[in-house]
Subunit: 190 residues, 2 copies
């Protein structure tokens, strides 16, 4: 039994022990080593992933051949390439473990079947997605109104633990900064 | 009865005529004139809004006192300030009708009650939100990899009707361009 995800679900809805046993039939848990790939470009991203332990990054290779990180996922977060997941089209992203990670995954058809068997989980996923949309709206607003330096200060103040945990060049990629510029900002803001 | 939204829901789930009558108890429909406000800054955004007819824009006033558009909503789209909606905090956005618009709104407590009475609507909202997240991921990727000119070309090719329908200065605001630069791009790309 995957206690972590069950606790997470129980923060949102009632899930009995017998429901948890049903859930267990539809999900898989895998341990990934640091730098292992959870999902790869040019293959369909057929799963939703939940981080029980560890940290993931999602990135694509841009026209210059450089990795561009678009999202991170820490403990308690769901992540997927939703375009690929919903349309069964090849993904343009890589999802990779930044640390040794314990990941719960649920395949699309299994999700559909699970939601037939336990329809109360619809509410759980709706609530998770509402928060995702709220987060995307906030991020979009910050990107419109802040300079890169302000965005860095906001990000490092909001997520100090995360700043310690993730390599600096990955944070630079996510924030759209060169690693050199990020290094200067860090010195200035100490 | 609001035929438009009921048809939209029926694209995703089964909704009987008696369910539609129940739905009707929880939603409101209002007609907004061009330029009328649906939701305003500094008040909590307590509703989700569905566009039956017309077009909305969502914007905030940036530090320079300039309107910055972050989203549009056309027929068949839902829109809200989800941070404000979920946390009952003052919104930082205005939502305004760009054209005369017919808007279905559902208040937060009414949504909760509706979802108790018609739990099958959880699936509908989950599916809408999944598409929203997919859209946000795609937009974020385009913003990372495209120049403003490429983003304009992509946007105008993907949504030609929309380009005709929305004033040029609003498209410039959304794309982060000056109206003068957008005007130049338009001439170049005719």
């Amino acid at each position: 039994m995957h206690k972590n995800i069950i606790q997470h679900i129980r923060q949102h809805i009632v899930l009995s022990n017998s429901d948890a046993i049903i859930l267990n039939k539809y999900i898989e848990i895998h341990q990934f080593k640091k730098k292992e790939f959870i999902s790869q470009e040019s293959r369909a991203c057929k799963h939703l992933y939940y981080v029980e332990k560890g940290c993931l990054r999602m990135y694509f290779i841009n026209k210059k051949g450089v990795e561009q990180i678009t999202q991170f996922a820490l403990e308690g977060w769901w992540i997927s390439d939703y375009q690929s997941f919903l349309n069964n089209t090849p993904s343009q992203y890589y999802i990779q473990a930044i640390e040794a990670s314990g990941i719960v995954s649920i395949e699309k058809q299994n999700l559909d079947n699970l939601l037939i068997e336990l329809p109360q989980l619809e509410k759980y996923f709706r609530r998770i997605l509402q928060k995702d949309v709220a987060g995307a709206q906030l991020r979009s607003k910050l990107l419109y109104e802040m300079t890169k330096e302000e965005f860095y200060v906001h990000f490092s103040t909001s997520f100090p633990d995360f700043m310690q945990r993730v390599p600096q060049y990955m944070i630079a990629s996510y924030l759209g900064l060169t690693p050199e510029y990020l290094s200067e900002l860090r010195k200035k803001n100490i």
